[in-house]
Structure formats: structure tokens, C-alpha cells
């Protein structure tokens, strides 16, 4: 290796090291700023985790199994809400994503508008949607389903569109060259390639919805979240832990089921 190359290597290495140092200093600075702003000090961490563990093992556990029959209905509502939101959401988003993907959109202005809309829908957290909608739709399952649906559409349009943009354009070109129209190209060349990712993203969305549907209830969306929130307000901690246990079962059960379906279909 020549002297010049060695010098160059060293310079690059030094630049990289400075980069790393700057990154970590920045990170440390941000962390300190956050600790100062939130009044956080290391001992609070231990005390907090200790208090949390004490509350968990003394007050919350064991779950009160006698409350189980009363929690079946909210638990089922939670499942129904997330499934309905996924189903309707995937249909709406499947349609909208055609206009949001660069490969299939008939018009680039329409594409940008769709992307913007989906960004708006998904970047406002689901709980915030519930809070906004509860004032007009009242408490209950309807508002929970609607807010889940909104966020599902936002997320799915983005994911579907990204998958649509990754399809093999050769088949599309071939059909187009054969004189096929827009709709024929869409159904014959695009959809068959898109189907596996459509199913994959929809299943992923179901997992997210199940998680979210257990919490929309806390701000008035019905389901298990409502049971948990009211249990905490009434100091019925054993009932709360029973509900949390159900959340756990539902979330893990959905993950198990979706992974099975995924293995079978994709």
C-alpha cells in the first residue's frame, strides 16, 4: 500500500470516528436534556420499577377469575372491532392504493393527494382519533371501530402502495404491448402479483388493530380498554389484572393465528 493510500485510509477512519463521537455526544446531550425536562434522576428509575413491581405483585396479582364472565363481552367486542376495521379498511385501502402507487396511478396529482391523505390518517395516533370522534359519535363500539378503521386505511394505503410499486413491471409492459386497457392490465398483471403482499399486510394490520382496540376503550371506544380504565378508577385491581390477562391472551392468540395463516397462504 502506498503512503498516499495509507494517509487517505487514516483520514477516512478519523472522520468516521469523529462522526461516531459527535453522534454519541449528541445522543447523550439529548438524553440529559430529556432527563432534566422530565425531572428524571437515576434513583427514580429503581424506585419506579420497584413501586411498579410491588403494585403488580401485591395489588394486581393474582387476577380475580370470578370477574371473567363479565369480561367476555368486552373481550369479544375488542376482537370484532379490530376485525371489522381490518376487513373494511383493507377493501377501502386496496381501492385507494391503486391511485397512490406510482406504477398504477393514472394521474400523479391524484397520487400525491392520496399519499398525503394516508399520511394524515396514519400519523395521528388511534387514541387521538377516538378522542376527536367521541365528541360527535358518543361512547361505545361505533367510535372504536371508526377510529381503528381510519388508522387502518392510513397504514394500509401506504403499505399496499409500496408493494404495488415493487411489482414486476415486465408483465405490465407485456400486457400493455398486447393492447390491453388500464383495467385489464390492473386485473391480469398487477393484482395476481399484489395478492400475497395484500394478504400479508392485512394480517399485520389485524395484529396492530387488536393491540389498539384494547386501548381505544380507555378514552371511550368500548371493549376491554374501558373495563381496564373503569376498574382502575374504582380500585378494582384484581379485575383489572383479569382484563389485562385477556388482552395478553387475545394479542398473543392473534399473533399465533396470523402467523399460521401467513404460512399457509404466502
Amino acid at each position: 500500500m502506498s503512503e498516499l493510500q495509507r494517509q487517505q485510509m487514516q483520514r477516512i477512519r478519523r472522520a468516521k470516528r469523529t462522526q461516531t463521537i459527535v453522534f454519541f455526544v449528541l445522543l447523550a446531550g439529548l438524553t440529559l436534556w430529556s432527563a432534566a425536562g422530565t425531572g428524571f434522576y437515576p434513583s427514580a428509575l429503581w424506585n419506579g420499577i420497584g413501586d411498579g413491581a410491588r403494585f403488580l405483585f401485591v395489588d394486581l396479582l393474582p387476577p380475580d377469575a370470578s370477574k371473567f364472565p363479565g369480561l367476555i363481552e368486552p373481550a369479544l367486542d375488542t376482537i370484532y372491532m379490530s376485525f371489522v376495521a381490518m376487513f373494511v379498511g383493507s377493501l377501502i385501502a386496496g381501492f385507494l392504493s391503486i391511485f397512490a402507487a406510482a406504477t398504477t396511478s393514472p394521474n400523479s396529482a391524484l397520487r400525491i393527494a392520496m399519499r398525503g391523505l394516508s399520511a394524515m390518517l396514519r400519523n395521528i395516533p388511534v387514541i387521538i382519533w377516538t378522542i376527536l370522534l367521541v365528541a360527535s359519535f358518543g361512547l361505545g363500539n361505533l367510535v372504536g371501530t371508526l377510529s381503528l378503521l381510519i388508522v387502518s386505511v392510513g397504514m394500509l394505503v401506504r403499505c399496499y402502495a409500496e408493494s404495488l410499486e415493487e411489482i414486476d413491471m415486465g408483465q405490465v409492459e407485456a400486457l400493455r404491448a398486447a393492447g390491453a386497457g388500464y383495467w385489464a392490465v390492473l386485473t391480469q398483471a398487477v393484482l395476481p402479483q399484489f395478492l400475497p403482499s395484500f394478504i400479508g399486510w392485512s394480517l399485520f394490520n389485524l395484529e396492530i388493530n387488536v393491540r389498539a382496540s384494547t386501548i381505544v376503550g380507555m378514552v371511550g371506544g368500548g371493549g376491554l380498554g374501558f373495563a381496564i380504565q373503569s376498574g382502575i378508577k374504582l380500585f378494582q385491581y384484581k379485575e383489572v389484572s383479569m382484563a389485562v390477562l385477556l388482552v395478553l391472551i387475545i394479542v398473543l392468540g392473534t399473533e399465533f393465528l396470523t402467523s399460521r395463516v401467513r404460512e399457509r397462504l404466502i
Binding site: 413501586d51 394524515m120 400519523n123 395521528i124 359519535f137 382502575i232 398473543l252
Partner: protein, 256 residues
């Protein structure tokens, strides 16, 4: 009908049937849907123009949300970093340890952050601290899983080679595994922060500090125009992090 299409139709049919069944069971009030949409349109018209007069409080609360997210994520990264080495099957000291750590992590992950926040609020009181703890616990759960996955993807030959030179466990981890997996781990950290920031904006809705409280407060006192301003701030926060993390992910993918 070919072989591939049959299960597809079967699952599709089952999904449609369960959808109809769910709709019947939910027993939604569709009259309310129209009425609510009208009411929402009225509320929305009250929301514009957004009222930014309370910007001082709103921005302070937004900063608090960001701080909660940073602190929670950094603490979680530190904890998950060590736990992941115990959880990854190829470098764990003992398979039983890996199994236990993984199990604990999936428990932490399966309980939504907002429920952790409620638990910590009762345990340590209101304010940003329960938010930090809730974010941290949730993030540890998901980071341990993805960190361990990335560590397991490290080429077995690297570990084998080091072991054959008589290197100890620590040396294998530091010299062999870590350099290979570092960029993947960093990408996971960035993605986790993106999720945690979104989580931290809603923690306030249950009393754990941050901007979520401002929103539920404004909506409860029927100050819809202020609520819209808070909503816009939340959107900008989450969206800008998504943009930045997309950029970072792209540049990392290029380097990899």
C-alpha cells in the same frame, strides 16, 4: 380451479363470514353513524381556524412528550442491548436463559404501552415518570426480540472462527458478533424511536404527561379550535420523525 386458488378462496370466504358475524355481534347503531357524521362536520367547522393562542403550553407539552420518548427509548436500548445477548440462540450462555428472556420480553411486548402507563400511574403517581417507565418497558419487550433476531443472523463462521482461537464469550461478542450486527441494531433503534414518539404523544390522554393531555383537555372543554392546533402539532411531530427515519433507513440500506 388450481391448487393455489382453493385455500385462498376458503380463507377469503371464512374472513367474509367472520366479518358479517362480527358486524351482527357488534350491533352498531348505523343511525348514529349518519347523525355522528353530521355532528362531526359541525365540530370540524368549529375547529377551523385552529387557535394557537395557547402555543406556549402546547409546545411545552410537546417538548415533554419528546423528552419522555427519548428517555424511555434510550433506557430501553441500554437494557435491551444486554438482554439481547442472553436471548440470542447463537451466543446465549444457556438455552434456558434465552428461552426465559424471550418469554419475558414477549409478555412485556404483548401488553400495550397505554396499559403499562395506567399501571405505573397508580404505582408512582401522575407526571412524566410513569410515561418514561411505560415507554421503556414496552420498548424493551420489542427491542429484545428484534435485537436477538439480528444477532442470530450473524454468520456462524465468524463465531466459530473466534471460538477456535480460544476467545472467551465476551471477546466473541465484542470482536465478532457486535461489529456484524451493529448497523441492523441501529436501524431497529431508529424504528423504535419512531414508534415510541407516537406512543408518547398519547400517554397524556390517561394522565402520564405530555401533549396528549392538552388534546383531551381541549376536547373536554369544547375548545375545538385549540384541539385542532394540538392535533396539528401531534401530526407534525409524528410525521417529521417518520420522514427523518425513512431517510436514515434509506442511507443505512445503501451503506449495508
Amino acid at each position: 380451479m388450481n391448487k393455489r386458488k382453493l385455500p385462498l378462496l376458503l380463507y377469503g370466504g371464512a374472513a367474509t363470514a367472520f366479518f358479517v358475524f362480527s358486524l351482527i355481534q357488534l350491533n352498531l347503531d348505523y343511525g348514529k353513524l349518519l347523525e355522528g357524521a353530521e355532528k362531526f362536520a359541525r365540530t370540524a367547522s368549529l375547529m377551523v381556524p385552529p387557535d394557537a393562542s395557547q402555543w406556549k403550553y402546547v409546545l411545552a407539552a410537546a417538548a415533554e412528550s419528546v423528552q419522555v420518548a427519548i428517555l424511555g427509548t434510550v433506557l430501553a436500548i441500554a437494557a435491551a442491548f444486554f438482554l439481547a445477548f442472553l436471548a440470542a440462540e447463537n451466543i446465549t450462555p444457556h438455552p434456558a436463559v434465552a428461552w426465559a428472556v424471550r418469554g419475558a420480553a414477549s409478555l412485556l411486548r404483548a401488553i400495550p404501552t397505554l396499559i403499562w402507563a395506567l399501571i405505573f400511574i397508580v404505582a408512582v403517581g401522575m407526571g412524566p415518570l410513569p410515561g418514561v417507565l411505560a415507554i421503556m418497558v414496552g420498548a424493551v419487550g420489542s427491542l429484545v426480540k428484534v435485537f436477538a433476531q439480528s444477532l442470530e443472523e450473524v454468520d456462524g463462521g465468524v463465531i466459530e472462527a473466534l471460538r477456535s482461537t480460544g476467545a472467551g464469550w465476551l471477546a466473541i461478542v465484542i470482536q465478532g458478533v457486535l461489529p456484524c450486527a451493529l448497523s441492523a441494531l441501529l436501524a431497529w433503534c431508529v424504528m423504535r424511536f419512531e414508534g415510541d414518539l407516537a406512543e408518547s404523544t398519547i400517554l397524556g390522554a390517561v394522565g402520564a404527561g405530555g401533549i396528549g393531555f392538552e388534546l383531551s383537555h381541549a376536547m373536554r372543554s369544547y375548545k375545538f379550535d385549540q384541539a385542532l392546533f394540538v392535533g396539528i402539532v401531534i401530526f407534525v411531530m409524528v410525521f417529521s420523525v417518520e420522514l427523518v427515519s425513512n431517510r436514515l433507513k434509506l442511507s443505512m440500506r445503501k451503506r449495508a
